[in-house]
Symmetry: C2
Subunit: 204 residues, 2 copies
């Protein structure tokens, strides 16, 4: 698994994992590239090429071993390990992310939320609430893998830089601005861009 | 504007629009491909190639006319027209989307929310609350451009198919499963996939 995996393949990795996970839950033991292809809207030859990169080799007439391939994917993705997260910005989006339990499937646990105003956040259960002024102190004492940025656009870059400077290596950004940093990885969830693409594509 | 625009360019379109919109707000009248390139993390030659497809031609030493290009982008994207939307699934994500006013920038107005249980939704302001059994009736009387799907994974495809069969042409899907339909456009916001990519990239 030493060779570099291209960005396009990385885009598809989680889709394979999620699908294999689902098959496994439904006690399906073998799957063909054709079935994967249909389910994920990826050509069968692309599926075979992608999976061969991860040591997944389907057998003609038998297909891929679902659990084996899923476990490999899980390890490649790194979600077999627990990761800790904090949320910066306790507004609507931040609160929705905290309430949403779905990320435990990826072994990600939100430990704390930071905001300038914290009163409205007192009720959040299982997640500690801090004033943003305590961010430096918190991160010194609680090494954190992922910072989820859900502040206003104007403050997103500043807040992300602050946590990156404090050693956070992964930024999951929900503010409507794309963030990039040297020394940290950013994934930008840009809902407004997605909405624009939807409108564009539905009219062409 | 008759020629087909490639998927990769469509991905970048909203980024250009958003950036030009921001420049325009800050009263900046001209911008070079180099400045756009830096801001959006796209090579300058790619910027020039993309923008030339939309009739945007920068002049050496002068750059692009910000407002002119922004207005073209707005028209190409179709966000100069008002679009109506409904939310299907009034859980945490659905509620966050309803509360979030940011989509008005894209001229998108959420008119109604549908759920099996509607009692907890009574307080949502400006958005009518309906039981999902009223969906057919509602759509007959209120032609709707966009259906926002925020139900459980298990129900996403079924609900999306229901609205597509009733004539909705655009599906904005937040359920953790990719949807594809003939006769409708789907944009899938897959947070869990994004999170997996983030974890993968931060460990390589």
């Amino acid at each position: 698994m030493d060779k570099q995996i291209s960005d396009r393949v990385v885009e598809r990795l989680p889709k394979y994992y999620r699908y294999l996970q689902e098959l496994s839950k439904n006690q399906i033991q073998r799957v063909s590239s054709k079935t994967i292809s249909k389910a994920l809207n990826i050509t069968a030859s692309q599926v075979r090429q992608d999976l061969s990169q991860f040591g997944g080799f389907g057998q003609t007439g038998v297909g891929y071993n679902v659990e084996y391939l899923r476990d490999i994917m899980k390890e490649i993705l790194g979600i077999n390990n627990v990761h800790t997260a904090i949320v910066i910005g306790g507004g609507r989006i931040g609160q929705a992310l905290i309430s949403y339990q779905g990320f435990r499937g990826e072994n990600v646990y939100i430990k704390a939320v930071f905001d300038v105003y914290t009163e409205h956040l007192k009720s959040v259960k299982g997640v500690e609430v801090y004033n943003v002024s305590e961010l430096e102190n918190y991160l010194k004492n609680n090494p954190t893998d992922i910072a989820i940025i859900s502040v206003q656009k104007e403050n997103a870059e500043k807040m992300a830089k602050r946590v990156v400077d404090l050693g956070v290596k992964a930024i999951w950004n929900f503010a409507p601005i794309d963030l990039y940093f040297d020394g940290a990885v950013c994934e930008n969830i840009n809902m407004s861009e997605s909405l624009m693409r939807l409108i564009y594509k539905s009219k062409v």
